[in-house]
């Protein structure tokens, strides 16, 4: 079991997003318990350059509209005990991103926001068991491929960067077209448990 695992779906190019507008949206999710899991608070890091933006802190994981790598996206990082296998855990993460994407796209206060679901970044944050090395990537590739297949069907996997200090991050790109509703269907069986 890895320390932290996460997935990020990117916002479509050209989305003009005011991070401050996300604060009431996420606080509303807490009030209405609109995402699975125990939701605790909203943290505003919009002042940080390429930072975690606005973050919904939870018990099992944190969901943020994140600006890391200079690309805005919906990031979910699972931080407590997660599903028994890595593919299951990642599917649960990506489902959380998809549910958030659906809520954000529906929100009238964020008319421009669109999520591009054809690419998913997988983040494995555990320098003990999964350092950002070619060897660790090779060792985990099989499990990552299972995740990719269950999410997209045909997909390619690429190690996102080779700085050994960074998290092991993998870009999963779908070979075919996908949409939000379709991916919600494909991940319906994934659970937070």
């Amino acid at each position: 079991m890895l320390q932290r695992i996460g997935t990020k779906l990117y916002l479509a190019d050209g989305c003009d997003l005011d991070p401050a507008a996300l604060i009431p949206v996420m606080q509303g999710w807490i009030q209405r318990r609109q995402l699975p899991g125990l939701l605790i608070d909203v943290a505003d890091y919009s002042h940080a350059h390429h930072g975690p933006g606005i973050m919904l802190i939870g018990n099992e994981g944190d969901l943020s509209v994140d600006f890391g790598e200079g690309r805005a996206g919906i990031l979910y990082v699972r931080k407590r005990e997660h599903a028994s296998s890595l593919p299951d855990g990642l599917l649960a993460c990506v489902r959380q991103c998809l549910l958030a994407a659906e809520l954000l796209q529906r929100d009238n206060s964020l008319p421009d926001l669109q999520v591009d679901v054809r690419e998913t970044r997988v983040i494995l944050s555990d320098r003990l068991r999964a350092p950002n090395t070619p060897e660790a990537f090779a060792a985990l590739r099989g499990e990552l491929a299972i995740f990719a297949y269950r999410l997209y069907g045909d997909a390619s996997l690429d190690r996102a960067n080779d700085d050994p200090r960074d998290n092991l991050a993998v870009t999963v790109s779908a070979a075919d077209e996908h949409n939000l509703a379709g991916l919600l269907g494909r991940t319906a069986a994934a659970s937070m448990a």
Binding site: I23, L38, I40, D44, H47, H49, N59, R165, D166
Partner: protein, 751 residues
């Protein structure tokens, strides 16, 4: 692949530190099995820097109602009223702010794997990581230990991080480099037997000179100011030692314990001070347990006598001096040769940045560069990029500052344009370090359990607005300092800013309104030479307008060469208050609902999960009228202080407390007389004995200010005493507001 961090790092951790972390992990297990009392575990945890965070009591007001947070570990607690699973804060000590590249990279890893990918620099040169699960803390500590960092005694009733000027060693005005001495004392006191039995925390600082602010020795429990003297033609190094300073709810200026102590004596004297504090300091009432209260109660002469007696009795310890011969001539070595900044091309924005963020070292050809961190935050990615930049330009010559920034030292001047480009490319090239845009703020309601208003929300808003106007702002305004605390506890150091704010709240009809008390005229220079005083409270959402009015008027009316403190003094409190008058009258909720929200928060404002109920209050209650009289009396006390009439200032502050107490009593018993004994007695019976006056954290602390003053008038009537009494009265009035809102103010929440 190693199975655990413990196994992997076993040989890289100091053995003693490793053993202590194992013990802590064992205590965690005992607590899980309920074989260790939660109170004992709480103090153990704090002494490992593992701190609570807002909502860790398992409930949160979500803007509609207070809801339980049902953590999976159920009833298991990590301290009284503190749920095991609740996210917490981990504080990491960085003695004198000194950081190596390896430490920067380790911190980034930890923030990513255990926290929220943000590293926060505190006003004591520490780092804080938020939203940490306690189960992750032993490995986090091991990974820190492997790079020479500890969390030991970062919180709890012991010696906190030892701070020092971030310019120590390279400062043009220093007497000598205080770094080795601060490092030696931090090392000596860490885990020392004589610092384990304090009633409260103990803060130590070192400064290389008297007139700048970098280390703020005047506001520390124990402060060291570098001095030299001539002994038989030889220059001898030593320190003036200060004791008993502190901010907190009631600020105290430190007093001189020893005019000159040789470097050989600083460790034993500190040990003696620790013993005196442990033996004579208050233990039961934590609100009076800082060393400043002990010094104030016994007097500095007696305190000095006790310390000197203790010093004589201390058994000799080699550790007092065995480090001195190893103190190098230069603590740090530059990575590169110093070179002047010649005609190299200057990138866009460089000149502004150069003006505010670059300090020329005493060593020709070198500069210190300040990396200006918004709200003290740096992302993990930025930290790694900064580590790379340090690797290229300065190596391990990096320090954190008490203004929540990071400095790179020993930058060859010729490298400044390239360094600026590198910083800019990773979002760390903001100009304005040390100016009005470089606002200090404590965590406030974002994560602190005691926060009343959003200090970070306000700081972010002000920073954004001021940055837009920065280019056109007059220098007199640019040079001002703003510091913000989320409550009266002063972690944002609002007392020592030109313009300080601390969070409080007011009630308007049936709604609470987040406010900030405006504190003007504090002095950052002269090692925090004087403290500002509260003017009036304004709604949080009005603060930007208040600030504009204040700075515009300062620019328009200041005389040649007049600084902000002098201008505020000349203007006088009455006039300042009159200027703020338009913001102190609260409208009805329906007229301006936005005013009833805090910065960066869309929830209806609440400070303590106040229950929903029916509206029983008038628009302007009797209490509101009477408490305003107490506030006005308090204001007169401030005026008397300004005029140097300390006796009257003290008397009026006492009167203000009586009036506030009477205002509260009259919400239950209209016929209370004007006699002071009656007021105090009714107040005690109705609000103190019943604990209705108690708030969750301060309990009855502020009421005891009234009781103490009522029992005995002060023996001295000097400025310091009058100031203290005025501060106490201010806090008593604030607490009265809060108690009235709790008891009588039936707060409803807007739909």
């Amino acid at each position: 692949m190693s199975e655990s961090w413990k196994a992997k790092l076993q040989d890289r951790m100091p053995q003693e530190w490793s053993h202590e972390i194992d013990i802590f992990e064992g205590q965690m297990e005992l607590r899980r099995q309920d074989r260790l009392d939660e109170k004992v575990f709480a103090e153990t945890r704090l002494r490992r820097g593992v701190y609570g965070q807002r909502y860790d009591n398992g409930q949160r007001h979500d803007g509609i109602e207070t809801r339980p947070l049902e953590f999976p570990s159920g009833e298991l607690t990590k301290g009284p009223d503190t749920m095991w699973d609740a996210p917490g804060m981990q504080r990491i000590k960085v003695p004198y702010g000194g950081l190596s590249i390896a430490q920067m990279e380790a911190l980034a890893d930890l923030a990513e794997e255990y926290s929220d990918a943000i590293l926060h620099v505190t006003t004591r040169q520490d780092f804080q990581l938020h939203y940490i699960h306690i189960d992750d803390t032993p490995d986090l500590m091991r990974r820190l230990a492997a790079v020479g960092l500890t969390t030991r005694e970062a919180c709890g009733n012991s010696v906190r991080n030892v701070t020092a000027c971030p310019l120590a060693g390279v400062c043009r005005d220093q007497t000598f480099d205080v770094t080795p001495y601060s490092a030696a004392l931090a090392d000596f006191l860490l885990g020392h037997d004589d610092v384990q039995d304090f009633g409260r925390k103990f803060k130590v600082a070192f400064s290389g000179c008297e007139h700048h602010a970098c280390a703020l020795v005047n506001m520390h429990d124990l402060g060291f100011l570098a001095r030299t003297r001539d002994v038989n033609g030889e220059t001898q190094r030593g320190f003036t030692i200060y004791v008993g300073g502190g901010l907190g709810t009631v600020p105290h200026q430190a007093e001189v314990l020893e005019e000159f102590a040789t470097v050989e004596e600083i460790l034993p004297i500190s040990q003696a001070v620790s013993r005196v504090f442990a033996r004579h300091g208050e233990k039961r009432n934590r609100n009076r347990a800082r060393v400043k209260f002990l010094v104030a109660s016994v007097g500095i002469e007696e305190f000095r006598r006790l310390v000197r007696e203790e010093r004589k009795l201390l058994p000799h310890d080699e550790a007092w001096t065995d480090w001195i011969d190893d103190v190098p001539v230069e603590w740090e070595r530059p990575l590169k040769a110093g070179m002047v900044l010649n005609g190299a091309e200057r990138p866009e924005g460089f000149d502004d940045w150069f003006r505010t963020n670059v300090y020329h070292q005493r060593q020709p050809g070198y500069s210190v560069v300040t990396v200006n961190l918004p709200l003290g935050d740096i992302t993990t990615w930025q930290m790694r990029q900064l580590a790379d930049i340090a690797r290229d330009y300065v190596s391990d010559n990096v320090r954190t500052t008490v203004e929540q920034n990071i400095v790179l030292r020993w930058v060859p001047d010729a490298d400044l344009p390239a360094l600026y480009r590198a910083l800019k490319s990773v979002g760390l090239g903001d100009a304005g370090a040390g100016t009005i845009v470089d606002i200090t703020a404590c965590p406030g309601t974002d994560t602190c359990k005691l926060g009343i208003a959003s200090s970070r929300g306000l700081a972010a808003e002000l920073r954004q607005r001021l940055a837009v106007r920065n280019a056109t702002m007059p220098d007199a305004v640019k040079d001002l300092k703003i510091k913000i605390s989320g409550c009266f506890n002063s972690c944002g150091q609002h007392h020592v800013a030109d313009i300080g704010f601390f969070g409080n709240s007011r009630r308007s009809g049936t709604h609470k309104v987040p406010h900030f008390q405006v504190v003007l005229g504090g002095q950052w220079d002269e090692n925090a030479g004087s403290f500002g005083l509260a003017m009036t409270a304004v709604p949080a959402k009005s603060v930007p307008d208040v600030l504009d009015a204040l700075t515009d008027r300062y620019v328009a009316e200041r005389e040649r060469g007049e600084n902000f403190q002098s201008w505020v003094r000349r203007l006088g409190r009455k006039e300042v208050r009159a200027m703020f008058q338009q913001w102190t009258k609260l409208p009805a909720y329906e007229e301006n609902p936005d005013l009833f929200l805090d910065w960066g928060d869309s929830r209806s404002y609440s400070i303590g999960d106040i229950g929903v109920g029916e509206c029983a209050g008038e628009v302007v209650s009797l209490f509101s009228i009477e408490i305003s009289k107490a506030e006005s009396e308090h204001f007169d006390a401030l005026l008397a202080l300004d005029e140097g009439d300390y006796r009257q200032a003290e008397g009026r502050s006492y009167q203000a407390m009586l009036m506030a107490a009477r205002a509260l009593v009259r919400t239950q018993f209209l016929d209370v007389s004007l006699d002071a004994d009656d007021i105090v007695s009714e107040f005690r019976t109705r609000f103190y004995d019943t604990e209705l006056f108690f708030d969750r954290y301060a309990k009855g602390k502020f009421a005891r200010y009234l009781f103490a003053r009522h029992t005995r008038a002060p023996e001295r009537n000097d400025q310091q005493e009058a100031r203290r009494r005025i501060e106490e009265a201010q806090l008593f009035i604030e607490a009265t507001h809060a108690a009235e809102a709790r008891v009588n103010g039936v707060i409803v929440n807007p739909a």
